[in-house]
Assembly symmetry: C2
Homo-oligomer: 255 residues x 2
DNA sequence: TTTCATTGCGTAATTTGGACACAAAGTTCG
DNA sequence: CGAACTTTGTGTCCAAATTACGCAATGAAA
């Protein structure tokens, strides 16, 4: 995928599964804030979700993994599809024609990039500090944005982002979250802040700890986080085996 | 969509969004059994999920609605997409070529029907007794099957069915279910049987009633179901307003 | 050394959930 | 026609989970 932009826009017809794309909502967590990785599109200066096309013989999940890897430099990312956005009007013909013009790609009305596109939305959870944001061929910037400060995005990407957050909140209710967003070692307050940020509400410190510990997926280490201007909190890490088990079995369920 | 089969298979290239289909897992409930609506494919005598293609300027959800309407005769069906199946190997080239041959459709290697297909899975909840199963152009039978007795299906349709059931169980944990599967008036034991069937396990009669009533989405009527060989149970119906509200807000959630 | 914010640990009150008892209702059987 | 049988309506008891706090301990900063 290191072809020049023109190659891709010209050869897309032959390379990609037609009328289909993937878009990734990449979540990170830093300084008690939930972040999203966004791209600034060339020429049009609009921010957008990282996305891409699916190669003719490529698994859809692999395509999303490829996008993720190339935007963050990370492998083994937690990734989950959450919704297909398939309204006919979501990809704007005129907008894309304008873009081709600005990119000086020769085209006519039947150009593959101008046809209707559906997009499959994925959300990904990554460890903020180990990711290395990298723009792609269509963008000249790749940066983390605070969830609260995300600007108006290209096409229906704001809607996709909203739906991703909704899916993430739903996951929180029946599966553990954190292994993919936090460093290997973390404190209980850090984990709590993560939950509070995703849920958008405050939780009681003591009850949070108790509930989290009953899930039996955490290991308390003998270390503490030092250098803080108060009592040093213990460090924890996830028990990998039990964490994976909880991911599969679910945490509770209601019935 | 009342063209002859040949028309569709020959004109597909022009009519449909390329390389993309929808498949519907249509659930019904009858005689305390969860049922699925299946089609018997012509010529090959294999059962399959009802599905179809998406018209070039059609919303994906509308395409699924169209499939549902034409298989059951029903409008206003509860319908929800749950997963995109996008492995390259899922649509078998040789299998489809064989099918074209049997249908006596003239084709070469570039025929649209032979390309790779992704499919978006939907599940639907319908009231068994008001649905009228109807085969489509590709099938010579359309019947309800007990979930436990579903045979080996075409392509990856068994996998799609499994995933649909999983999605349905998940929905049960955070949203009410029943309005779409039961008649307007129903008894508490009937509702309970529905839940038990979906979950695949027995529930305590008295605790079930208490929990269900606390959701505050049911209205008890002054009528009873008569003609049964025991005490006549009360009839209930869903309070439409509160039911919709519960659908949107979720029932509990864990956090 | 005192102050201050925060952590670790704990307790009481309340709510929810699971297991079960019993009387009432309606058909069926003797 | 009444006894037997099955199932429903309602309620209780107890354990587990959830919520709302209290308080001493810790470690940097004042």
């Amino acid at each position: 995928m290191d072809k020049a932009k023109e190659d891709i826009l010209e050869l897309g017809q032959e390379l990609f599964h037609p009328g289909f794309s993937v878009d990734c909502v990449i979540f990170g967590f830093h300084e008690n804030q939930l972040k999203v990785l966004l791209l600034k599109m060339k020429h049009i200066d609009i921010w957008a979700l990282p996305g891409g096309f699916v190669l003719k013989e490529e698994d859809v999940e692999d395509a999303a993994t490829r996008v993720l890897q190339s935007r963050t430099g990370l492998d083994n990312i937690f990734l989950r599809q959450f919704h297909l956005f398939g309204q006919p009007g979501r990809s704007k013909h005129d907008f894309n024609a304008e873009l081709l013009k600005k990119r000086q790609v020769p085209f006519d009305g039947s150009h593959w990039f101008l046809q209707r596109f559906m997009t499959l939305g994925f959300y990904a959870l990554v460890e903020y500090s180990s990711a290395t944001p990298r723009p792609d061929n269509n963008s000249d910037a790749c940066e983390w944005w605070d969830l609260q400060q995300v600007p108006a995005l290209m096409q229906d990407h704001n809607q996709i982002l909203d739906k991703a957050l909704e899916a993430l909140r739903l996951q929180l209710a029946y599966q553990p979250i954190g292994y993919n967003l936090l460093a290997e070692k973390f404190t209980m307050p850090e984990l709590q802040k993560l939950y509070e940020t995703i849920l958008g509400k405050q939780l009681d410190r003591r009850n949070f700890q108790r509930k989290m510990l009953t899930y039996d997926i955490l290991e308390r280490l003998d270390e503490r986080r030092s250098g803080v201007a108060h009592k040093a909190p213990y460090l924890y890490r996830f028990n990998q085996e039990k964490y994976q088990q909880a991911l599969q079995q679910g945490l509770q369920g209601g019935w």
